[in-house]
Symmetry: C2
Subunit: 422 residues, 2 copies
């Protein structure tokens, strides 16, 4: 039994017309008119496939195919929303891939012991309403309902009001709570599979991420008469930290990374020695302990830099998303599906967040990655070949079959919550 | 013969009331109502001292005391304008110090062979109208008259109109052209004299200055899934350059300096590898050749950094102010005055630009520096002690006496013009 690659790619192409951009991408911001059109199309397709569609009080859409027993369903989730001028695959592949799995089971008149539910999570991207992963975070207890409904976009329009406006505000009782397993098919958004020459990857988990605000206070001075020795140049100190973060992440090794993405200089004038710098640091590691050790190395470096340059450096580690290792039985099921398809069993960690991150709080969770051309995503030129997409979706099909047939509902997920240091 | 320190400090205090700020500083922007009030007060004081006041077509004010012969005057110049929330000494010391010299000569009924003219240059600071040094630059041939009159402040108000409005638009024939020598007394705006424990310094010249725009193009990527090895991080490349500029200037040694004062990152987002950086580099040296060598070292470094990080680095050396060594006979006259007063003869270069920079194009020029507390200037807390001010003004008096008595008008100044590489 294999999925129908042509049908899947046609569905992907049709969905990509909703919010299509002139550059070949898609803009389908959460709870926009385009998002509503995408949801409506998906709903029609699901009902055509005999699924029962419901949506909850965060607009998360669930499309259910009953099992032979009334036991917790296998959940297949991802998202239909995109960033502004995003691509045609990020998120939508996981939702329409899951629909193709259902259509294939229908074609072959295969019933499963567990029900199967497709989930389209609301506002995964966080482009319109912040933070990202709002729908999955709300259902899994990360965010308060009132706070979620009160999120505003840049025009001050609220999440709750938009949900009502596009007719996707459902009851709390419709939330997905019981689940035997959660699976998410997604493009890699990175270069590892392409570098390895492989179509699909088995995701072992989502790496941890910690965000730090850095405030460097030096002394603004005239760039002419102030000798090099007497300076307290905040930007020179910042440069030492930027290279230090880079060095520490390189020494830590793949898949750990460290990035200074945001930086502002004051007074930011050509002939004035910089008096202060604020900047961000983003550190990621598959191990929470290693993440903290990376942060501690940056702190020690900051102390040295502060002494050397006569500046003060304040560091605020204000947000941490702990690493999420996926459930071993789900990872093994994905690996088995790869082997059954004759594909290499290539394990990797996700460097980006996904709804699977929060799903893992409630359900045994796993992910399947599909090769991204050039490792590029969040871009109109984001691309995965029809062949790779078919291979990834077949892995999803075979994994779903294993789990919907066999998995007893007895896997106790440990609570994995984000922590706020602030 | 010595100046009257009490009278000078009283005049400085009175002038500082015009445009006084709550923080103890002064805001007297060029051609503002405050500047007009300052000019009017200065004019009254000059006329009270028996001087003939005129102003030219750039608003530069000249106050003349005749000599015993009708030969070119000794010029004593500086400026009464300030930056926004500036200090009480920058510029005004040179103008009122020169007035105190005249008052002292009057007190002692000393006549000089050469006439003496005080000059208050228009718009030295460049805070309201850009560029700085507009009045002295215009008179010495740096800028076209129409272009100067067309300069606009941030509100779009023009230099020429403001000059007329405050009644300081004079005829072209009033420009100061003939001069036996040009002297400028100024606060140091740097820490050297304080570090040396000295009240006054003999300025050997104004160091050269070159401005470079740097454009670094890397590749913006997701900060999570993009491994360290595959990155083209424009900010990491910028950090290498910032530290390189710092190292090159340190190796070059005092008074050479190098500064990255302005920097902008794109897209400037915490979880995105920086795709591009633009930044400035300001290099200064007392030698034009050394300045070019510093720039060449930065260029070589940029080539290495570009290769190492897989980025492109464009460098545009768009403006250079060549170093201005002062006339040896004037420097020697200042040094002699210091020795005659029992002060150490401490030579230093000016790291900042002054009207003396352009004056040196027309006349044999020198400067006297007075110790700045903490090396601080362009600040409301800018301060020099009454004692140091008196010492500096006595150096101006004794130097003026030497030059107004002895200097024949036969020193041919070499043309020292700025060059635009753009």
């Amino acid at each position: 039994m294999r999925i129908n690659a042509d049908r899947l790619n046609e569905s992907l192409a049709t969905m990509s017309l909703i919010g299509a951009t002139t550059g070949g991408g898609v803009t389908r911001l959460a709870l926009s008119d385009e998002d509503k059109a995408g949801r409506d199309l998906f709903r029609t397709w699901c009902e055509d496939a005999g699924l029962t569609v419901r949506f909850d009080d965060f607009g998360n859409m669930m499309a259910r195919r009953d099992g032979t027993e009334d036991i917790p369903p296998v959940l297949l989730g991802s998202h239909l929303d995109t960033i502004d001028t995003g691509g045609r695959f990020d998120g939508v592949l996981g939702v329409l891939g899951a629909l193709e799995v259902i259509r294939t089971l229908n074609d072959h008149q295969v019933s499963t012991r567990h029900p199967i539910e497709i989930i389209n999570w609301t506002n995964e991207e966080g482009s319109r309403f912040q933070p990202a992963l709002l729908g999955s975070g709300a259902v899994t207890g990360q965010f308060e309902k009132a706070w979620v409904h009160d999120r505003q976009d840049q025009q001050g329009t609220r999440f709750g009001g938009e949900l009502k406006r596009i007719d996707y505000l459902g009851p709390e009782t419709h939330r997905p709570i019981a689940g035997a397993a959660y699976l998410e098919l997604h493009i890699e958004q990175g270069p590892h599979l392409e570098a390895a020459g492989l179509a699909v990857g088995v995701v072992d988990g989502i790496i941890g991420d910690t965000w730090i605000n850095v405030d460097i206070q030096g002394q603004a001075d005239h760039a002419g008469p102030t000798p090099m020795r007497g300076r307290h140049d905040a930007l020179v100190a910042a440069a030492e930290l930027i290279l230090g973060v880079n060095r520490i992440a390189n020494e830590e090794g793949d898949p750990a990374v460290g990035t200074v993405g945001r930086l502002a200089v004051r007074p930011n004038v050509i002939n004035t020695v910089p008096g202060s710098v604020t900047m961000s640091i983003d550190l990621r590691s598959p191990s929470g302990d290693r993440l903290t050790q990376m942060f501690e190395r940056v702190q020690i470096l900051a102390g040295d830099v502060a002494s050397e340059h006569g500046v003060t450096i304040g560091m605020d580690r204000y947000w941490t998303m702990n690493p999420t290792p996926f459930a071993l039985n789900i990872v093994e099921a994905v690996a088995t599906a790869c082997r059954d398809l004759g594909e290499a069993e290539h394990h990797l960690w996700s460097g980006a967040g996904h709804d699977a991150k929060y799903a893992a709080n409630l359900w045994p969770t796993g992910m399947i990655f599909v090769r991204s051309q050039g490792g590029i995503s969040h871009s109109e030129v984001e691309y995965s070949t029809p062949e790779d997409i078919a291979t990834g979706t077949n892995v999803l099909l075979l994994t779903t079959l294993q789990l919907a047939r066999d998995t007893p509902y007895n896997w106790p997920p440990g609570p994995v919550s984000d922590s706020n240091h602030a």
